[in-house]
């Protein structure tokens, strides 16, 4: 049966606009009016609602995706200061994730970069203690499990003994860890003992432990000891790592990947 131009329901129309913005990156009010056969007033109202819901960002004459916001671009640069290196490390790490894997994602900027690469990986199960990683994947992506625990404000991660509650009940194939410093003698260190506690718990039970750290962290030692090198299976870092350092780690049985 052919419908004589059956009108579209309001929520359906808004969903249409939302996906259009997502696909095109930008839409114009006038285009929407012609395509959707409603008045500009209605279009504007729709955009207003969608903006309130955080689905898009209105601009003069139309709307753009949240990602396209200038503001956000600035912000992203900040988090990725050494963004080229950290981004490359994240991309390299991403290649290590197989289909259907269950992975743990530690807190930190490098691992956060990895989280951004997983938005389409609905095949994965992701365990994390990072609120930012969870926020990054809030709308789509893998199944997300958060470990509980005390919120450490500065890093926006969950730490401390309570984390054992959930961590004791799950297993991950691969754990991607961050660190504040790594050193041949002292192993891995971080600033907060509670944070270290979690990293240890994870490392203990993960099938494979993969450390993501830019070369700037090499030979840096922080306050809280996390673990020795034998807890680590793979190190993904950048090409500026001293060759002797890499060689020494490889002799200890680690796989060292330079992004």
């Amino acid at each position: 049966m052919i419908q004589p131009a059956s009108p579209i329901l309001a929520p359906q129309r808004r969903e249409l606009i939302r996906s259009l913005v997502k696909d095109e990156g930008i839409v114009r009010v006038e285009d929407l009016r012609q395509n959707l056969k409603v008045s500009v007033a209605t279009i504007r109202r729709d955009l207003e609602i969608l903006e309130e819901n955080g689905k898009l960002q209105r601009i003069h004459g139309g709307a753009v995706t949240m990602e396209n916001r200038l503001e956000e671009a600035v912000f992203d640069d900040k988090t990725n200061q050494a963004s080229t290196e950290k981004g490359r490390i994240a991309e390299e790490a991403c290649k290590l994730i197989g289909k259907g894997d269950s992975v743990y994602l530690d807190g930190g900027s490098t691992t956060l970069g990895l989280a951004r690469l997983l938005k389409d990986r609905t095949d994965l199960t992701l365990v994390t203690n990072s609120l930012r990683a969870a926020a990054e994947l809030a709308d789509s992506g893998p199944k997300v499990l958060l470990i509980g625990g005390e919120l450490r404000r500065i890093s926006q991660t969950m730490v401390g003994p309570l984390t054992s509650g959930v961590l004791g009940q799950v297993h991950v194939d691969k754990a991607f860890m961050g660190t504040m410093g790594f050193c041949l003698r002292s192993g891995l260190t971080t600033t907060d003992p509670n944070e270290a506690y979690v990293k240890n718990l994870v490392a203990d039970q993960a099938g494979q432990v993969i450390l993501l750290a830019d070369s700037g962290k090499a030979e840096k030692v922080s306050f809280a000891r996390v673990s020795d090198w034998d807890a680590i299976d793979v190190l993904v870092t950048d090409g500026n790592l001293p060759k002797l350092f890499a060689k020494s780690l490889r002799k200890r049985g680690l796989k060292v990947l330079l992004a």
Copy 2:
């Protein structure tokens, strides 16, 4: 759609609507009226029933599948909607919190309002399954513990059996719970069984269980049963709650506060 000469039975019609919504993703009241040859009043009643049974989600002019329901649109509408009432409810609830208390904060818009009022309460320990509540208190406020668990995207809460890991290790003086519907006969109900599971765990071990719900939720029944009224100690709602309702609850031993 082909019509039998004889009228069809009501349950048969509803099943038809249900499968239509499932297939099409969206249906319009007017279309249903024409195809089913019944009045709009009947269609509306059918949709109402199907919605109560969790089979679909009503929207202005029709209905959509539960999967299609415009995610945050639903949630955010709620945060804005009766915001004055919810704000008052939150303020009233806030008065119940004593110095140094440990409190649990459930997910939902009303409890989120309460979270906003706690930014200066550094004396508290707050346990929550809500990422939004945690985000609200990300910079300052009480000590925050998050329970772990699977991330439920639509509500941005952690749900499911894994939550028992942390919840088993903590005790809270007061638990502030939200709900999708509360009803004298059916008690408390919500949309997701995993969500209900968490609410139950919390209610079981909290010193005092305080339900925050605007009167619009009264006599609404959702899909997943949470608990009976005897699990609740205090109900904080608004003045629009039918007096008989309040009276009946008080008779059952609940404290009913009208904000």
